[in-house]
């Protein structure tokens, strides 16, 4: 194996710039003549806007523009990836705390900030709903205007959609033991260290927009429609985001900034504060009722899951999060009868959106915890019960979807082995284990262009965003491997719709599989040209030539690619260009519009110690094992797995938004919203991968990056219960909550 080819721990593409400070993130980019924008928001969640007076703001020296909904085309343009429900600026009514009603732009940031405070808004606070129960109350105010939902039978409620997946007959399935509980999952936020940032600049007859966006091409479409421009006049530049985790998938304030730039005739930049970012993106909280029916022999009779997700005031991609996240709620088990009802419930809170795990962690927390309850009720070991029901390779555990695409038992056994499952537990400690599964992309479209330059170096053009997952490195490794170039001779160009071909999105851990395949195909096209070239030069039949991994194999000898390339290109030089395309088409009639391209499968096991006096949980050992098919870059795989595991510890142990009565986030910002630091890690974090080259991606790779987060919470809760008897069905498992469970709550062995 080459030291930098596929399967090697090759150094990260873009790594050098990341350690020298040269990496230019959106906020680091400045345009000549740019204006600085600042949003104007109200101190409440829902309000009727009576009037907005920007006069005092415009009087501040250096202020060039103040814009309100009235300055936009009427009716105020709306956008959104699923429903076009979000106005560019609040029109008539704000629906969540932090929703902008106006924005100003000035020569300096200081002037913009001062002016934003001077915009005079008269408003009337309106009744609002911030909780699931509040939103479902028949007397609750409607979050979304029924007029925006014509013909929708649910339009008179705050339920945006109800998604049902079912097979077998749950109601008729006899069971020896039925266990039913309700679990809650808190509202948490992505907290990428890079806050969202946007710059828009008028450009001849069009516009250029820089954004921290994950899906530049999707944004291009939104902007073109809102601005009435052809796609070719909307250029989206998307430098590598400084972390995204789903929060940067879809348009937020790009449309506003674009309108401002066009109005001002100058570039306008808007860099959100962390607080504004918290108000712009979050994960849906959830309340999940699980009824598990078991036979005495430890096999499933049925699973019955009702998952209510509290989404925000605008749908963003949240309803898809609900449908796709709740869909595999029953897990990778053989279950004769299942029913999953997922509801997206609107509320007057910041819009929830994609977040690593995409709706799965919420139901996984509930269902895996309930399986532990069932195991306890049956007196069967929690690992044994899972293994007894785990889908075997090729088994269709969801009858109408991709069958099990891995030897999952290997993964589960590896985790059990690494935690010492079955070994005596040291006093005061407990162990827990859980399984996570997530559907990969259900549809997708990626194009890649690869150019083999005259000296043998390579340029890969791909529309994926590298937000830390390392897509640059993966594509470079594939091209290096296929075309025989040293890795540092491969340049990967991304993030500019004027330069790279179309890519639908960077999400669902898809890029190694979908874009990776497109890159591979583009390389294969170049290999075809090399074959033709070699045939011409050597005067032999093309069919007798094989090009593989950087070598041109003739019937009688082997030549390096570069040799054939030089001779073939001749004195004029030039290059060979290959294009690759990877589609995953929609499947009409499928509940999700398409079956899973692959399953992300993870098993997490932990050993924990609980301080009964304080409720402190110490994770003595945390094991995470993922089935990745094939690790194209094991170094990056490990970093993604461990990073996801630690992020999972965040919502498991400490993260949550706390609201006041008026729907304001009380712990807005980094002081009181706690995420794990270097001191909050398990004493030992151990990650392993299972590689059977059984994935659909290049060289048998599957997507990964989310798996290790999915089932952290149920594994930790099981360990806490084992160690202390504390029964906890609400996250996070803060010391206070554990203490309450031990001192006043339910305490069971």
């Amino acid at each position: 194996m080459r030291a930098d080819g596929v399967g090697a721990a090759a150094p990260r593409g873009g790594g050098h710039d990341r350690v020298t400070g040269r990496q230019a993130y959106v906020a680091d980019i400045h345009l000549p003549d740019e204006l600085h924008a600042k949003l104007v928001t109200l101190d409440c969640a829902r309000a009727r806007i009576r009037s907005v007076d920007v006069g005092p703001a415009l009087a501040v020296p250096g202020v060039r523009l103040a814009i309100t909904a009235a300055d936009l085309p009427q009716p105020v343009p709306r956008f959104g990836p699923q429903f076009e429900d979000r106005p560019v600026l609040a029109a008539g009514e704000t629906k969540y705390h932090g929703e902008p009603v106006a924005a100003v732009a000035a020569e300096t940031r200081d002037a913009a900030e001062a002016a934003a405070r001077l915009v005079r808004v008269e408003y009337e606070e309106l009744p609002a709903v911030f909780t699931i129960d509040g939103a479902l109350d028949p007397a609750a105010p409607l979050v979304q205007d029924a007029a925006l939902r014509p013909g929708d039978p649910l339009a008179g409620t705050n339920v945006l959609r109800e998604h049902r997946v079912a097979w077998g007959d749950v109601d008729a399935a006899p069971a020896d033991v039925v266990v039913e509980h309700v679990y809650t999952f808190p509202m948490v936020t992505q907290f990428a260290i890079e806050p969202h940032a946007f710059i828009a600049a008028p450009d001849e007859d069009g516009i250029v927009v820089w954004s921290t966006i994950q899906h530049p091409y999707w944004l291009q479409r939104v902007l073109a429609r809102l601005l009435g421009l052809p796609l070719s006049r909307v250029r989206v530049v998307a430098p590598d985001p400084g972390g995204a985790f789903g929060g940067k998938q879809h348009a937020k304030y790009e449309p506003l900034v674009a309108f401002m730039a066009l109005r001002a005739g100058r570039p306008v930049r808007l860099v959100l504060s962390l607080e504004e970012t918290f108000q712009a993106v979050r994960r849906a909280s959830a309340r999940v009722r699980v009824r598990t029916g078991m036979h005495a022999d430890g096999t499933f009779a049925f699973q019955d899951v009702a998952a209510d997700y509290l989404i925000g005031a605008y749908a963003d991609i949240a309803d898809r999060v609900v449908s796709k996240g709740s869909y595999p709620a029953c897990g990778p088990y053989r279950i004769p009868a299942a029913r999953v009802v997922g509801r997206s419930i609107l509320s007057h809170t910041p819009p929830s959106t994609a977040f690593r795990g995409f709706g799965n962690p919420q139901v996984n927390w509930a269902v895996e915890s309930n399986i532990d309850e069932a195991a306890r009720a049956l007196g069967i070991d929690a690992l044994e019960l899972r293994l007894r029901n785990l889908a075997r390779p090729g088994e269709a555990f969801i009858p109408f979807d991709t069958p099990a695409d891995g030897r999952w038992e290997e993964t589960v056994r590896a985790a059990a082995r690494a935690i010492g499952w079955g070994d005596p537990v040291p006093p005061g400690r407990g162990r827990g284990l859980a399984i996570g599964i997530k559907s990969g992309p259900t549809t997708g479209l990626s194009y890649a262009t690869v150019r083999l330059l005259a000296d043998g170096s390579v340029v890969v053009h791909a529309g994926t965003s590298d937000m830390g997952q390392g897509a640059r490195t993966i594509f470079a490794q594939i091209a290096a491997e296929e075309l025989g170039a040293p890795l540092d001779w491969v340049t990967v160009v991304m993030g500019d719709t004027a330069v790279v071909p179309y890519d639908a999105q960077t999400s669902a851990s898809r890029s190694s599989v979908l874009m990776g395949t497109a890159v591979l195909r583009a390389c294969r096209e170049i290999q075809g040209r090399l074959r033709a070239m070699a045939a011409r030069i050597e005067g032999i039949d093309e069919a007798s030539i094989v090009v593989e991994r950087g070598t041109v194999r003739l019937p009688d000898r082997e030549l390096p690619v570069l040799d054939v390339l030089r001779r073939g290109l001749g004195r004029l030089g030039g290059e060979l260009i290959g294009n690759g395309e990877m589609r995953k088409e929609e499947e009409p009639g499928h509940p999700l519009g398409g079956s899973a391209a692959f399953w992300e499968f993870n098993c997490t096991a932990v050993e924990a110690e609980v301080d009964a006096e304080t409720g402190d949980v110490t994770l003595v050992r945390h094991v995470t094992v993922s089935d990745v098919g094939r690790a194209i870059n094991p170094l990056q795989v490990r970093a993604q797995d461990e990073g996801a595991a630690i992020m999972g510890l965040g919502h498991t142990l400490m993260e949550q938004y706390i609201f006041d009565d008026g729907g304001r986030i009380r712990n807005l910002g980094a002081i009181d919203y706690r995420i794990p630091t270097s001191m909050d890690l398990p004493l030992e974090l151990h990650s392993e991968i299972v590689e059977n080259a059984d994935g659909p991606g290049p060289y048998g790779a599957k997507g990964m990056s989310e798996g290790a987060l999915l089932c952290v919470a149920p594994a930790v809760a099981a360990a806490v219960r084992h160690a202390s008897g504390a029964v906890i069905r609400d996250l996070p498992l803060s010391p206070e909550r554990v203490w309450h469970a031990l001192h006043s709550g339910e305490r069971q062995p």
């Binding site: 405070r117 005079r120 808004v121 260290i193 400084g242 794990p676 270097s678």
Partner: protein
């Protein structure tokens, strides 16, 4: 009826000061600047000196993305007024590599795969540098303690720690 805005006194009317001249030695280079009193060291590094390696995130001293060394000690540059730093020596991530050669810490970060999205990495590197300057052979808990002021949401904490311990171990040879 509620009203937003208009509760502010006009800044100019408050007799706010103009720019104040200061001197900084940034990455070994002497700089004479005029800074507004309410601009932080982070503002001045990023906006006036174009040194965008120090990042802006929480602006409350919690995340460490803005970490730089002032007279050899790490600070959150978002919580230092630029005028306060008058006369100080400042080291930013741009000053870590000497003559285009990465420092040993920078190399170790790359080798261990510690930089993922990279946004927190300049701050991490400076905290790590200050730690090793003060304590060339830290234990694992000492590293974790010293680095706790630098959040990494990609959560490459294991990799960052390994890189630091690696460099420390080499120093001992």
């Amino acid at each position: 009826m509620n009203v937003n805005g208009m509760d502010e006194v006009n800044e100019e009317a408050r007799g706010a000061q103009g720019a104040i001249p200061i001197r900084l030695a940034v990455n070994g280079r002497q700089r004479a600047l005029a800074v507004l009193p309410h601009h932080t060291l982070l503002d001045v590094l990023r906006d006036d000196l174009g040194l965008t390696g120090a990042k802006e995130c929480c602006l409350v001293g919690e995340c460490g993305a803005c970490t730089v060394l002032v007279d050899g000690r790490t600070v959150d540059a978002c919580l230092v007024l630029a005028v306060e730093a008058d006369g100080a020596e400042v080291l930013t991530v741009e000053g870590l590599a000497g003559h285009g050669r990465l420092s040993r810490l920078q190399e170790a970060f790359l080798e261990k795969g510690a930089a993922q999205c990279g946004f927190c990495i300049p701050g991490q590197l400076l905290s790590a540098q200050a730690l090793l300057d003060a304590n060339p052979h830290p234990t694992l808990p000492e590293v974790q303690e010293a680095m706790a002021g630098n959040l990494c949401r990609c959560a490459g904490y294991e990799q960052i720690t390994e890189a630091i311990l690696d460099v420390a171990a080499e120093g001992g040879r």
